[in-house]
Symmetry: C2
Subunit: 209 residues, 2 copies
């Protein structure tokens, strides 16, 4: 039975731990998951490698790609462009690999609109207190910034109703396992399968009504 | 996070191995799955225990229960009634246990109509050849009966398009695992969750738009 890979969008507020989760899944399941490298027009930061962390391209090239429909979703953040190249995603799906895209809710909804079979997974912190202490724990930001982040996080949380799955990150390994098994389970969903093709491959006779 | 149990209907043609799969799941996961005992108006066979294999009741009692809306689904087979008591199912769901109901596609669609959050899982043999050899392997039936069974099986297979999930039983343990993980995955689906209740329990402030 040939089942295509599943495009899994993972979103969640800052402090939900989504990056840690996605990092572990991609690191530990290289055979089952394809790593999609985003395009960005911002300059590489120290230690960032072109083609590994991002494909670094000029703003002109980004806009050209965008108008050619290359991006499954894109966003402008602080004057820089970020985009998920659809051809990379498609390549992995055809190779029967799942794809994890860590993007925000707005980007996730863009992906869903273009790929209705994609799966939107929202990662939530276990409680407001945990979120607050995680955001405060970073210690890099002043009170105003933290308050703004918390406010944004509350707003983000309420967008989860537009998502397909809601995973609470109260224990890292459990959250990782949940997301992997959502991918496995989704591969068996009927709307995703070509049943006629499957019946043919199983040599079932055509059904005579 | 309080997530209710999932009602999982498992169907498939005779010879798909669905009974073996359901038996193993219920036997090995008593903490996570509730065992619903069907009602029937047929007489107990040798070795069958009332309340274990079935609740054996009179046809009159069955019809009374039916008209009181007790059954989530019911069927008449060879003049005997069989029904799935909805109150048992509800009890386990409230206890946060998943429920597996091994019933035919017609019954499965009855359940889905009454409980839209139930999950319909179709178990398929890996190939027509395997199905044929499984049905022939029973050796109890003559050629006419086997031919009829194979024909019915082909008809059943094509009803799987109305189901939510399609699981190929090419390896027993893999099929068992697939069905268990579908249940786990489904518990995290947003349409099944009461997000406002969850946010309250996490002490998230109300969202001010």
């Amino acid at each position: 039975m040939r089942d295509l890979g599943v495009v899994m969008v993972v979103s969640g507020p800052s402090g939900s731990g989504k990056s840690t989760i996605c990092g572990h899944i991609l690191e530990d399941n290289k055979e089952d998951f394809g790593l999609v490298v985003s395009h960005t027009s911002r300059a590489p930061r120290e230690g960032e490698i072109d083609g590994v962390h991002y494909h670094f391209i000029s703003p002109e090239k980004f806009l050209e790609n965008k108008s050619n429909g290359l991006y499954l979703e894109w966003a402008e953040v602080h004057g820089n462009y970020y985009g998920t190249p659809g051809d990379q995603v498609e390549k992995f799906v055809d190779m029967q690999k799942n794809v994890i895209l860590e993007i925000d809710v707005q980007g996730g909804l863009q992906v869903k609109a273009k790929l209705p079979k994609s799966v939107l997974i929202f990662v939530s912190p276990p409680s407001y207190e945990t979120l607050e202490s995680r955001l405060r724990g970073r210690k890099t930001d002043d009170e105003e910034v933290i308050k703004k982040r918390l406010e944004n996080a509350v707003g983000e949380m309420h967008k989860s109703s537009q998502y397909d799955y809601f995973v609470v990150n109260d224990e890292l390994q459990k959250a990782i396992d949940s997301i992997i098994l959502i991918g496995e389970s989704e591969r068996k969903r009927v709307p995703r399968l070509n049943l006629n093709e499957i019946f043919d491959s199983m040599r079932f006779p055509k059904f005579q009504k």
